[in-house]
């Protein structure tokens, strides 16, 4: 059997992946629950790169694992090119051919007992490709990620550097010919020069294979470089989503503003003197009532601690930008909210 190409079934207008109220709670002992991902809605269009940013513990990686179906969601569903993931039109196994993931730890994500060509060839053999064909494909992919197969194919992971291993992981993810690649902090563990090389490689591969990326990172500069759109997460929820330049130049949610102002400036005259965020660190076990950001928000008012703001269209004519903040909801009760008349 050969791995045939995946047809574009829904057409260019259908999002490649649509997540609807994805929820994942981890129960702790004694009735406590970690709300790692709490009703996350987003869509990834074909051929775009969606960056996902947020502090540690905001649910970025859990979201990635749920999207990859490594852990099942508690609630919500996902549509892949218009079909329900795990439904009768798109089985989980078939979905996993079309969606792949690159992990942060390049060493832990390669089996130390397998040569790297065997690691890359494993996925295709699972899907019925003969071993010989899978090995040839692995060598071809090694070439494409910039590793000479004659030198590297028969090596073991510990003989490679971090950057080389991450290239192998990318090749492994591409071995099944996926349409969606989830990059979970894929370049975060690499040093800056190697990181830049791998980012360029990812950008090239996106063109070459027509890939769609979900790019998860805590590094705002990297996300800006590679993403078309950015999703900002806070305590398991999406607080803002929008095209990268608009969002970076004109953040609407106070949390996004705080995140962006925490970026170190390259200009010494422009340096930030005080911490952009104060207050208690977020606790996903007992998230605050109302808007989850209100205890740390400089603009918080009474309404923020009572009512949970919906993710509404904001600051754009075409509806590409959304934010979950009472200051963006007309008539929300926040003094800075736009008036209902202005909105009408």
């Amino acid at each position: 059997m050969a791995l045939e190409t995946h047809p574009d079934r829904g057409g260019p207008g259908t999002p490649l992946l649509q997540a609807k109220t994805l929820t994942k709670h981890f129960p702790l002992g004694g009735g406590a629950v970690v709300r790692a991902v709490d009703g996350v809605d987003f869509a990834v269009m074909k051929g775009e790169t969606l960056g996902v940013v947020g502090e540690s513990g905001c649910g970025k990686s859990t979201t990635a694992r749920v999207v990859m179906q490594l852990i099942p969601q508690d609630k919500g569903e996902m549509l892949f090119d218009g079909e329900i993931v795990g439904g009768k039109d798109l089985t989980l196994k078939e979905y996993r051919r079309q969606a792949q993931m690159v992990f942060q730890d390049s060493y832990a994500s390669l089996n130390p007992r397998l040569t790297i060509e065997d690691s890359i060839a494993f996925g295709p053999t699972v899907h019925g490709v003969s071993k010989a064909a899978a090995i040839l494909r692995a060598r071809d992919l090694l070439q494409r990620v910039g590793l000479d197969p004659a030198r590297f194919a028969a090596r073991y992971p510990h003989e490679l550097s971090g950057g080389q291993r991450q290239r192998v992981n990318i090749a492994r993810a591409l071995a099944l010919g996926p349409r969606l690649v989830i990059l979970d902090e894929a370049v975060s563990a690499l040093d800056k020069s190697v990181e830049a090389q791998v980012l360029n490689l990812l950008a090239d591969l996106r063109e070459e294979f027509g890939l769609t990326y979900i790019f998860i990172s805590h590094d705002l500069n990297v996300v800006r470089f590679i993403s078309d759109r950015v999703m900002v997460m806070y305590l398991g929820e999406v607080v803002e989503i929008g095209p990268v330049e608009e969002l970076y130049n004109d953040p609407r949610h106070p949390y996004t503003k705080a995140l962006l102002s925490a970026m170190p400036s390259m200009d010494p005259d422009n340096r930030t003197m005080e911490a952009p965020l104060t207050g208690d660190p977020p606790n996903p076990i007992n998230p605050p009532e109302g808007c989850r950001f209100h205890p740390r928000c400089p603009q918080a008012q009474t309404v923020c601690s009572k009512v949970k703001p919906a993710l509404v269209v904001t600051a754009s004519e075409d509806g590409t930008r959304r934010a979950a903040c009472h200051m963006e909801i007309p008539g929300s009760g926040h003094s800075r909210a736009p008036s209902l008349e202005a909105a009408a």
Binding site: T5, R96, N111, G123, A154, R179
Partner: protein
Amino acid sequence: MTAIIESAAPIVVPPLAKSPGYWTGVWRRFKKDKVAVGAGLVVLAIILMAVFADYVAPADPTRSSMLRRLRPIGTPGYPLGADELGRDMLSRLIHGARLSLFMGVVPVFIAFVFGSVIGVAAGFFGGKFNTITMRTVDVFYAFPSVLLAIALSGALGAGITNSLLSLTIVFIPPIARIAESVTTQVRSMDYVEAARASGANALTIIRVHVLGNVLGPIFVYATSLISVSMILASGLSFLGLGTKPPTPEWGLMLNTLRTAIYVQPWVAALPGAAIFITSISFNLLSDGLRSAMDVKG
């Protein structure tokens, strides 16, 4: 996206020079460990001695002589003395190695197979399955191994097969424990997640990604049990639950020579010394293997 189109002609994969693998490194490190290599040679010598006992032993191990009972070490014709029935000690020790080694290796090997299956399954599938399996295993683990072996042998009755069976049951729980804990570690590695993400089923993941990483450590642990098994088997024979006379077996010999301890203490101690040397060699060998395998990559 490129597709793989398989032509009718068989695909030829050009072979590449394999870089030295994990086991090459293990062997290189093991070779440097003088103690472990020495222990390995002793184990090899004992195994060869047991296999070729008929050719190595100077005399018939069961031929007794009432006139030559309890001769000291160095008696002409009896290099290691004679036992309480005048049988040649050296020949009996050489022949006894067969059964002692058999009782050391076979129960541990069978337990290695079953314990690994139980432990790897429990560790890999986790959750309730793990809890139920491992708590059941813990029930057996709670008994001291000597006590459990004696109780089982006593219940099953004397004889080699029964002591083999009881020793196997004794060794399954500790091996399953180790297998479970190693598998739990491996299961959480990203390469197992990546394998799941590529759509592989549990059996394929266990075969390709888990076994290769857990069998080594489990095997090393199991080799350390060989000495325990030998000692337990000797103990069972000593208590009359294992081999029956006149079959030479180190534990049984220790038992029957017990009465002669004041007459010929050195001769009476010989089977004990044989057990000691063999078990400590197995232990040192497994320690050496452990440290040789304990290096990342």
